[in-house]
């Protein structure tokens, strides 16, 4: 049973006059975040492929992962709305591929899409904040299940762990200049179809049953946390990893299903 908050955790005008750049991806979290920030008064620019349905004040194609292209993206936004006050990057991703089968090209492509993109966009954002002597907020989203490593997720885990590390280093480097960086770790949430839901269906279990709180999260709950973390009300929260997963990661026990070597269920070429 979902208990979806229909209103906002911050006053409606909290982001009035603020420009938020959302580097999104198709899925419920990008949509809900865009909707929530607009409702809270932000001018919302979304950039990414396949985001035509995402509510925004300006929709831009996905920028190439290259310093010039990323800088150009900020230039375009600034030319229309003025300086960017908040940067949100939604890269909730999980995989299901045996490590030995991950091709170098795919490794490079995903790292570019996640780690390189976040590094380039985050550092470009910070430089522009410093240049105008103003602060800003960066919020990064990744899949909770892969943060600490997960079989079949060498790629996604390495990227998510890199994000978790970046927010800590950036916090110490930039917070004194009022550029704040945080992270949301997204668990099982309605409307996010990924390898986890695929795996649940292959194993014949309902993903809901795997969550201690006995329900999936909602994208609106993720958006509510995003609003709070990037608002002035969370000004003292920096370098934080806010996990929204209904307690899914805490399921330690001495039993569990018999261990199957991951390559037996990942369809590895080595089986």
């Amino acid at each position: 049973m979902s208990q979806v908050p229909q209103d906002l955790p911050v006053p409606a005008g909290t982001f009035a006059g603020k420009v938020i750049l959302l580097l999104g991806q198709p899925g419920s979290t990008t949509y809900a975040i865009a909707k929530a920030f607009r409702a809270a008064g932000a001018q919302l620019v979304v950039s990414g492929d396949g985001l035509e349905q995402v509510p925004s004040d300006l929709s831009l194609p996905k920028a190439n992962v290259h310093p010039t292209a990323i800088s150009g993206l900020f230039d375009t936004v600034e030319a229309t709305f003025g300086p960017v006050d908040g940067l949100i990057i939604d890269r909730v991703a999980s995989g299901c591929t045996a490590a030995e089968d991950i091709l170098w090209k795919r490794w490079r492509a995903m790292n570019a899409d996640i780690v390189d993109c976040i590094f380039l966009a985050g550092s470009e954002f910070a430089r522009r904040c410093f240049a105008r002597g103003d602060g800003g907020d960066i919020l990064l989203l990744a899949a909770a299940q892969v943060i600490d490593g997960a079989a079949g997720n060498s790629l996604e885990s390495a990227a998510a762990s890199a994000i978790a590390s970046l927010i800590k280093s950036w916090t110490v480097e930039w917070l004194n200049d009022d550029v704040r960086v945080n992270m949301i770790e997204v668990g099982l949430v309605e409307g996010l179809t990924n390898s986890i839901s695929d795996l649940a269906s292959r194993r014949g279990i309902d993903a809901v049953d795997t969550v201690p709180l006995a329900r999936l999260g909602t994208a609106d709950e993720v958006a509510a946390a995003a609003l709070y973390l990037t608002s002035p009300y969370a000004a003292y929260i920096a370098g934080a990893q806010l996990r929204i997963d209904g307690g899914e990661w805490l399921r330690a026990n001495l039993g569990g299903a018999p261990f199957l070597p991951p390559r037996t269920w990942l369809g590895s070429s080595k089986v």
């Binding site: 908050p5 916090t171 709180l213 370098g239």
Partner: protein
């Protein structure tokens, strides 16, 4: 921050709620319409805290309790229920602390700190859970933590060990009680100078201590209230087992080269490393 009626009709119990961090968190709930119960061993502290909360227009109930005593915890909940109705949210904030070298810590001193923070948190949580289950209602717990729960803290081994235990309680109870719809989270409280912290001067909130934090200032009372209220609200309904660090980046201040190490027993000021 939250809608003004977010907690209308709800009751929050804040142990150690008469002053400091507990009172700061209580204010956050008072501003969102909750009825507030504050507990403390000290009657004077309770009176001062209640006066402040009354000033915000809140309905306040005070109760004296030593959370180390299991029977007193039961009595406390009964008194609050009779006065205000069942407790919806529990903020485990009761604690005490003082600088001491481990080798000089007496058995009584060790027990005083660990029993308030760890035993007290467990007793209150257990009683809260039982009563929520009895009425078949959801609830939320917030445990007050410090980053030394996982970093350790020379000169504060008693509190650090107790907080580490409390962090673990957050994780275990979040899972044990999830199907009862009891969410359990922690808030790591950063530099928050107030009158009950040894060697801290609240007047220096933006001064000496604040300058040691990447955020460039100390924590403000309302920021604690907002964080606790958010986690207990509908908006935090899918969050459990979280340890939310509200410290202005303080615990992340690793450096490749740190200042020269002064062994704890050679320090003039044990906690401040000098």
């Amino acid at each position: 921050m939250l809608p003004a009626d977010e907690f209308a009709g709800k009751v929050v119990l804040v142990t150690g709620g008469g002053s400091g961090v507990g009172l700061a968190m209580a204010r956050g709930f008072a501003l969102c319409g909750a009825r507030i119960a504050i507990a403390s061993r000290n009657e004077e502290t309770l009176a001062e805290g209640a006066a402040e909360l009354h000033g915000l227009g809140a309905e306040v109930f005070t109760v004296q309790c030593d959370v180390r005593q299991r029977n007193q915890v039961t009595d406390m909940f009964t008194q609050i229920e009779e006065a205000t109705g069942p407790v919806d949210f529990l903020l485990n904030n009761a604690g005490s602390n003082f600088p001491a070298l481990a080798e000089n810590l007496s058995v009584n001193a060790w027990r005083a700190i660990t029993q308030i923070a760890l035993d007290g948190t467990f007793f209150c949580s257990q009683e809260f859970h039982a009563r929520r289950c009895r009425v078949g209602r959801a609830g939320a717990i917030i445990n007050n933590l410090a980053s030394y729960a996982w970093t350790g803290f020379p000169g504060d081994v008693h509190s650090a060990a107790a907080k580490a235990g409390t962090l673990n309680l957050t994780l275990s109870l979040a899972t044990e009680w999830a199907r009862d719809q009891i969410r359990v989270n922690s808030i790591v409280v950063g530099t928050y100078p107030h009158s009950r912290v040894p060697n801290n001067d609240p007047r220096e909130r933006e001064g000496r201590r604040g300058r040691t934090v990447p955020a460039g200032r100390a924590l403000r009372a309302q920021e604690l209230g907002w964080a606790a209220a958010f986690l207990c609200s509908r908006f935090g309904g899918y969050i459990t087992g979280l340890n939310l660090v509200v410290d202005g980046g303080d615990w992340l201040r690793r450096d490749l080269l740190k200042p020269p190490f002064i062994p704890p027993r050679e320090r003039k000021d044990l906690w401040f490393g000098q």
